[in-house]
């Protein structure tokens, strides 16, 4: 254990001297994919509840595909599959983008968490109290103002406990990143393991680090819930 900490603490936490690795890489993947996923989910969850099938059907298809297939398969398709297509390799911008394992990983992770988040938000929007919508309409609010002032603030607050779950599941999913050669926390742990052949110390240390991250996330979401959901308290 001491040997692993002495030799790998830097790589486990932030860098192997050449690139970002370990906890820093795991947190970066989590933050960027959840941020993109959130931005995707906000408009898509509204579209998911639209009455016009031309609008809701593509969104339904997207969430169905990304929730219906394993993330590992999605990652392999984005990393290995897309780059083997000629039009990707022949266009300089796409070639440059998909050449990097980290970009592929972020695309796959963001699309995956975006699909789950869309369904979480869509469900929450659907359950908005009709009285609130009625009251807003009687005030003469436009559809846009109605969503901006009434539906979205209330729906997002009510979605918070479920959404925090999704973020923590996403943290666990980042362990797949090394499939696309991204040196996340688990990859450094495997290096430490193959240097020492000491599975309990190496993976135990990784488990502790993941626990610390999870605990911080849970704590932050609990604080946010106390703040934003105070109005729902009995």
């Amino acid at each position: 254990m001491i040997y692993i900490i002495q030799n790998y603490w830097q790589a486990l936490l932030y860098s192997d001297g050449y690139q970002m690795t370990g906890v820093a890489m795991t947190l970066w993947l989590l933050t960027i994919s959840c941020a993109i996923g959130f931005c995707l989910a906000l408009p898509l969850s509204i579209a998911r509840n639209a009455k016009n099938p031309v609008i809701w059907f593509p969104v339904w298809l997207y969430t169905f595909i990304f929730r219906g297939t394993p993330l590992l398969v999605q990652l392999l398709i984005v990393y290995t599959g897309l780059y083997s297509l000629d039009f990707v390799r022949n266009s300089p911008a796409l070639n440059e983008f998909f050449r990097q394992g980290i970009n592929c990983t972020i695309v796959a992770f963001a699309l995956n968490t975006g699909a789950y988040t869309t369904e979480i938000f869509a469900g929450s929007i659907r359950e908005t109290n009709f009285g609130e919508v009625d009251a807003a309409r009687s005030f003469g609010m436009s559809q846009f103002t109605l969503y901006r002032r009434i539906i979205l603030p209330s729906a997002l607050r009510r979605a918070l406990p479920v959404y925090s779950n999704e973020v923590i599941l996403m943290l666990h999913s980042t362990t797949l990143a090394f499939t696309a050669t991204v040196p996340d926390l688990l990859k450094v742990t495997k290096d430490a393991y193959s240097a020492t052949y000491d599975p309990f110390d190496a993976f135990g240390l990784a488990a502790l680090l993941y626990l610390c991250i999870s605990f911080t996330l849970i704590f932050a979401f609990r604080k946010a819930e106390q703040h934003f959901l105070a109005f729902l308290k009995p």
Binding site: Y83, G101, T181, K187, D191, S194
Partner: protein
């Protein structure tokens, strides 16, 4: 625990066999312990015969010494204790010389060495030096000595070294064009990629020779009990002889298209 078992077995073997080992024996046969799960070095044919590069070398050694060759099957993880327990006289199973193993048993002189080699697209002009690969992307398998090598010498010199979970993924990205070259065991490169239909556009770009920090480790040799210097001397003599009289080259050419010595 394994170490203790090994030591225990060794101690037991010494106790039990102190008497017979005392008188000098003349060799009429050499029993080799082999783990035949590692083609092309050692494997068994469907009919149960031993075959492979190591086996051919062993037979050549025996015929040089005019003794009979016997091969005994033994799993690799228990092969040193079995040698100490006198189930056979020598280990012939692609065993790399390491300081830990050298504490327990003796080794013959070098049998062969699997060089680490770079493969790249034909005509790329890349060679396995930091200067040639600067700014290029090189793939390695995670956890191998080749990864340690690339990280030790090439990464600091500006080579983009990318680690992969498996060797097949390294080849996949070499084919897709993400990688300019890949670094691995030469035998693995030859059998796993260059000799397959997908490897036709690629070639061996050279073996790694520069290794002042000894990252890639030592050569492969025959393991012999420490109390049998006479056998070691005979095997060393036979290895030197088959190398000198061209038998070694002939056997090598049967399995590899590059030098493994």
């Amino acid at each position: 625990m394994k170490k203790f078992l090994g030591l225990g077995a060794a101690a037991l073997a010494v106790l039990v066999s102190a008497a017979p080992a005392a008188h000098a024996k003349t060799f009429t046969e050499i029993k080799f312990g082999v783990d035949p799960t590692y083609p092309p070095f050692e494997s068994t044919t469907p009919s149960g015969d031993f075959t492979g590069f190591d086996i051919d070398l062993g037979r050549a050694i025996c015929s040089t010494l005019h003794v009979k060759c016997v091969f005994v099957q033994q799993g690799f993880d228990g092969i040193i204790p079995a040698l100490e327990a006198r189930k056979f006289d020598a280990i012939l199973s692609s065993m790399t010389v390491t300081p830990q193993r050298a504490q327990q048993i003796d080794f013959s002189s070098e049998m062969y060495n699997e060089p680490t080699s770079l493969i790249a697209k034909k005509g790329s002009g890349l060679v396995p030096t930091a200067a040639s690969l600067k700014g290029k992307t090189v793939g390695v398998e995670s956890g191998t000595i080749q990864e340690s090598y690339a990280n030790a010498y090439w990464k600091p010199a500006g080579v983009n070294v990318v680690s992969y979970p498996g060797q097949d993924q390294v080849y996949a990205d070499l084919l897709s064009g993400r990688l300019d070259a890949s670094l691995q065991d030469s035998v693995e490169a030859d059998y796993g990629f260059l000799k397959t239909p997908k490897g036709t556009d690629y070639q061996l770009a050279g073996n790694v020779t520069y290794d002042p920090k000894d990252v890639l480790g030592s050569y492969i040799a025959i393991g012999i009990r420490k109390d049998e210097p006479a056998l070691k001397a005979k095997i060393d003599y036979a290895i030197a002889k088959i190398i000198k009289n061209g038998t070694y080259k002939k056997i090598e050419a049967k399995y590899f298209n590059f030098s493994v010595y």
